[in-house]
C-alpha cells in the first residue's frame, strides 16, 4: 500500500512537471527577442510587508532620467507598484502593455502606476520601446540590486523580482498585495477591484 502510494506520488510529480502549460502568449511586437525561461517556481520569496502596513519608501531612477520616490505621492494620489521579474521574458512583456491602455481606470481612481524591475536602465529602455509610449514611469531597481523588491519581500532567490502588485493609498498605507504565480499574468479585474475598494 505504502509502495503504491509512493509510485502514485512519483507519477503525479512527473506528470505535473511535464504537463504544465507554458500559458502565455507573446506579442509579435517583440519579434523573436523574448527569452523563455520555462516554467518557474510560482513564488520564491517571503513578503516583508502586509496589508495595513506603511509602504517602505524608496527612490529609484526612472527611464525619464529623474529619480522617483514613493513619498512624492503621499497625500496626492494612490500608487500601484507593479513588480515584474525581468525584461525580455514572456509574461512580463505582455503585462505592462495591457496596463498601458487602461490609464483611464487608474486616473478614475486617482492612482499612478509605477512599473519596477531589477533590470538596468539601458535594458529597460530597449525593452519598453517595443511596448509603445507608456503613460507610467518605469523604474530600475538594479542597484543595489533588487533592494526595493527585497524591502517589500518580493526578491526571488535568483535575483529577479516576483510578479507582484501593491496598491498603496494616499496615506502611504498598503491596501492590497498580490504576489502572483510568476508564470501567469495577474487578472486585470483583481487590480481594478482593489482600486475600487480604495474608496470604501
Amino acid at each position: 500500500m505504502k509502495r503504491a502510494l509512493s509510485v502514485t506520488s512519483a507519477l503525479a510529480v512527473i506528470s505535473i512537471f511535464f504537463c504544465v502549460s507554458s500559458a502565455f502568449s507573446v506579442s509579435e511586437a517583440f519579434k523573436k527577442n523574448i527569452y523563455n525561461p520555462g516554467v518557474l517556481k510560482p513564488t520564491d520569496s517571503t513578503l516583508n510587508v502586509s496589508v495595513g502596513d506603511r509602504a517602505p519608501d524608496f527612490s529609484l531612477p526612472s527611464l525619464s532620467g529623474e529619480k522617483i520616490s514613493l513619498s512624492r505621492y503621499r497625500g496626492k494620489s494612490n500608487v500601484v507598484l507593479s513588480f515584474v521579474p525581468a525584461a525580455w521574458t514572456p509574461v512580463c512583456s505582455d503585462q505592462w502593455p495591457g496596463y498601458n491602455i487602461v490609464g483611464d481606470i487608474f486616473k478614475k481612481h486617482n492612482a499612478i502606476l509605477l512599473g519596477i524591475t531589477v533590470d538596468n536602465l539601458p535594458t529597460l529602455h530597449a525593452w519598453t520601446n517595443q511596448m509603445g509610449e507608456l503613460w507610467f514611469p518605469v523604474l530600475s531597481d538594479f542597484w543595489p540590486h533588487g533592494a526595493v523588491a527585497d524591502s517589500y519581500g518580493v526578491l526571488r532567490s535568483d535575483g529577479t523580482a516576483e510578479r507582484a502588485l501593491f496598491v498603496i493609498d494616499t496615506g502611504g498605507i498598503i491596501r492590497f498585495i498580490k504576489v502572483n504565480d510568476i508564470n501567469q499574468r495577474p487578472k486585470l479585474e483583481e487590480l481594478v477591484k482593489a482600486l475600487e475598494e480604495l474608496k470604501e
Binding site: R3, F24, S27
Partner: protein
C-alpha cells in the same frame, strides 16, 4: 536479484516509461494553422450579446463551431488585450470590418471574430471598448484555444472558407499585421475564391 530489488526495478521502469510518454507528448508541438489545412476542432460560446449573435447568424444558445457561422468566409484574429501590436493594429482591423459591412456584395459573406489569448472576459471587454471593436471577440482565458492553434504569437490572422455542408478549409494564415485594410480585403477575396463568385 532479491524480491525487493526486482519490485523496485519494476516500479522504476513503470515511472521511466510514464516519463518518456509524457516527454513525447510535451515535445510534440501543435502546428499552427496552415493554408490548405483545417482548423482544430473547437467550440465557442454563443454570445449573449444580441448584436454579436445576429452578426454570426446564430439563433440558439450554448456553444457553436466555426462551421455554424452564417458566412462563406471567416477571418479569425488571435489577439490579446496585452499585445501592443494588436493594439496598434486594432483600428485597421476595424476598417476591414467596415469595408465588408459597407459593401453589399460582401456583407454577410465574410465575417470576423477575435479570440483573446489568455484574456479573461473582463479583459476582452476592455479591449473591445478601448478600440470600439465592432465584431465578436471571445475570451480564451485558459489559453486552451491558443494552445490548439499552435501557441502562435499575436496578432495572428486566419482565413477560413465555410462550405454549405459546414466543412471548413484554411486558405490564409499569417503572423503579424494586415498591411492595410483595403489590400487585406482584396487578398482575402482572391485567396478564398470569393472574388470569382457572385453573391448568392
Amino acid at each position: 536479484m532479491s524480491k525487493i530489488a526486482r519490485r523496485m526495478f519494476a516500479v522504476l521502469s513503470v515511472a521511466a516509461c510514464w516519463a518518456a510518454l509524457l516527454m513525447t507528448i510535451a515535445s510534440a508541438e501543435i502546428a499552427s494553422p496552415q493554408p490548405g489545412g483545417c482548423l482544430p476542432d473547437f467550440k465557442l460560446p454563443i454570445p449573449e450579446n444580441t448584436a454579436d449573435k445576429e452578426y454570426l447568424g446564430l439563433t440558439t444558445s450554448g456553444q457553436f463551431n466555426i462551421g455554424q457561422i452564417k458566412a462563406q468566409v471567416i477571418i479569425i484574429e488571435i489577439l490579446s488585450m496585452y499585445c501592443p501590436y494588436c493594439q496598434r493594429e486594432a483600428p485597421e482591423v476595424n476598417r476591414v470590418y467596415e469595408i465588408i459591412e459597407n459593401n453589399l456584395n460582401l456583407k454577410g459573406r465574410i465575417k470576423l471574430i477575435g479570440i483573446g489569448a489568455g484574456n479573461t472576459p473582463f479583459e476582452v471587454q476592455i479591449y473591445k471598448e478601448k478600440y470600439s471593436v465592432p465584431f465578436p471577440v471571445f475570451s480564451d482565458e485558459d489559453f486552451s484555444l491558443h494552445k490548439a492553434f499552435g501557441e502562435v504569437r499575436t496578432p495572428f490572422f486566419i482565413g477560413v472558407t465555410i462550405k454549405p455542408d459546414s466543412t471548413q478549409r484554411v486558405f490564409y494564415a499569417k503572423l503579424g499585421g494586415i498591411d492595410g485594410a483595403e489590400s487585406f480585403v482584396k487578398l482575402i477575396l482572391r485567396l478564398s475564391g470569393l472574388e470569382q463568385e457572385k453573391k448568392p
